[in-house]
Symmetry: none
Subunit: 221 residues, 2 copies
DNA sequence: CGGGCATGTGAAAACTCCGTGAAATCACCG
DNA sequence: CGGTGATTTCACGGAGTTTTCACATGCCCG
């Protein structure tokens, strides 16, 4: 666990560092935004604790700069309630905030929380993307131009089989045996109906599912 | 540093004990799983070294039993590569493993590592927060809008597994094997009933547990 | 350009699965 | 060994999903 602590007050840096190290973590320190950005370019941290009011480059601007090249979770340390408001006013890409005075225990809890969440995001892995069509296998979500769409189980399974076999011509029989199961005894026109529903849900990306006359279907970008 | 050494071979117990004591620690010995569980009920250890193959009660079952009342870190000692596989196949709640033959130095290093980790866990006060739903892992408390709610053990474990897998689609089978244990042979609709109870207790935050028709459930904010 | 065949479409029927409540069983504690 | 609370099983009902089917549309080839 490697944490970057950014604050212009040495006292605060030291207190935080001690807590991080007490829990077996490692801590680097920076005393202004410029330095923080530089250090982030050189080292990969698991999380950043960042004060807002600082000389040279304030916390907001530093986060904005860091976000250009890194997704490292940031927890803002804000001295006053008004600054807290700003956090909501502007979308600056921080993951959490704590207002001073803070209990180190609370700060540590939040560090663990943001690291956990960012790890979850990383390892979520399996994500397919074709232009504006995104399929998140872990969460079983499908997005069309960033907007989540609701698919029925069969529609999802069918889409999943299609994307797994991108560019491959698939007969109705094969789709039935793979998506429905080898023991499905039914009309092979069932596939057509589901393709219709799926296409309807995929909106503009219906174009990816092409009909192969006399054969079946194919998923192609 | 108080360590419990569990192995049916006296030779191995003695070697390990000597190393623990050499480093200024204290060691108790148990020669089977039953004895180990009994001793854990009576004494609080900092870590447990546990063999897998043992008479009366094997290491897997012993850990499972101990986990019912204690979070003491466990390092498994496995004689063969196949057993190592099992460690990954089933979630049994051990924290590390070493395969025989092992160097005592390596074992000691791992003991120090798991103890450090477990201490960090204790003091970090692991807290999950999703809007007004707060889960305090250390105290095993759950709060809805600041008000403490009472959950049964299974409800709590289920909720805990859900939040640990935020955003991940979970099948009933997976929930059963992870929350109930891989050796649970029962109706998978049991999950539904517990989800119902849990939802009831979570009040407005029941919304976080979404049903995935034809699949299972997902915890999503 | 039109017949024939394959696919698209819409709606209704059939089916599946989940939420729920209640009863049965289990586990724990005195 | 009885009582209490937790867990598990189970059946019902309804919402949502899948399947079927008839008709519409479109494509290919003569």
């Amino acid at each position: 666990m490697k944490i970057l602590i950014v604050d212009d007050e040495e006292m605060i840096r030291t207190v935080l560092r001690e807590y991080v190290e007490f829990e077996g973590g490692e801590a680097d320190e920076a005393c202004d935004g410029m330095e923080a950005v530089r250090m982030c370019r050189e080292t990969t941290y698991d999380a950043i604790l960042m004060d807002i009011m600082m000389p040279k480059l304030d916390g907001f601007s530093a986060v904005k700069e860091i976000r250009k090249f890194s997704e490292t979770p940031v927890i803002m340390l804000s001295a006053r309630a008004e600054e807290y408001d700003k956090l909501f006013g502007f979308e600056i890409g921080s993951d959490d905030y704590v207002t001073k005075p803070f209990s180190p225990k609370e700060v540590m809890a939040r560090i663990h929380a943001v690291i956990r969440r960012s790890k979850a995001k990383m390892s979520s892995g399996e994500i397919y993307e074709f232009e504006g069509l995104k399929i998140d296998v872990t969460g079983r979500n499908v997005y069309v131009d960033g907007e989540k769409i609701e698919l029925t189980p069969k529609e999802y399974e069918l889409l999943f089989y299609f994307v797994q076999n991108e560019g491959v011509a698939l007969t109705r029989e094969r789709l039935l045996s793979k998506v429905w199961g080898y023991d499905f005894y039914g009309d092979d026109r069932t596939v057509d109906t589901h393709v219709k529903m799926l296409r309807g849900n995929l909106k503009e990306y219906r174009k990816f599912i092409v009909t192969l006359r006399g054969l079946g279907y194919k998923f192609e970008t």
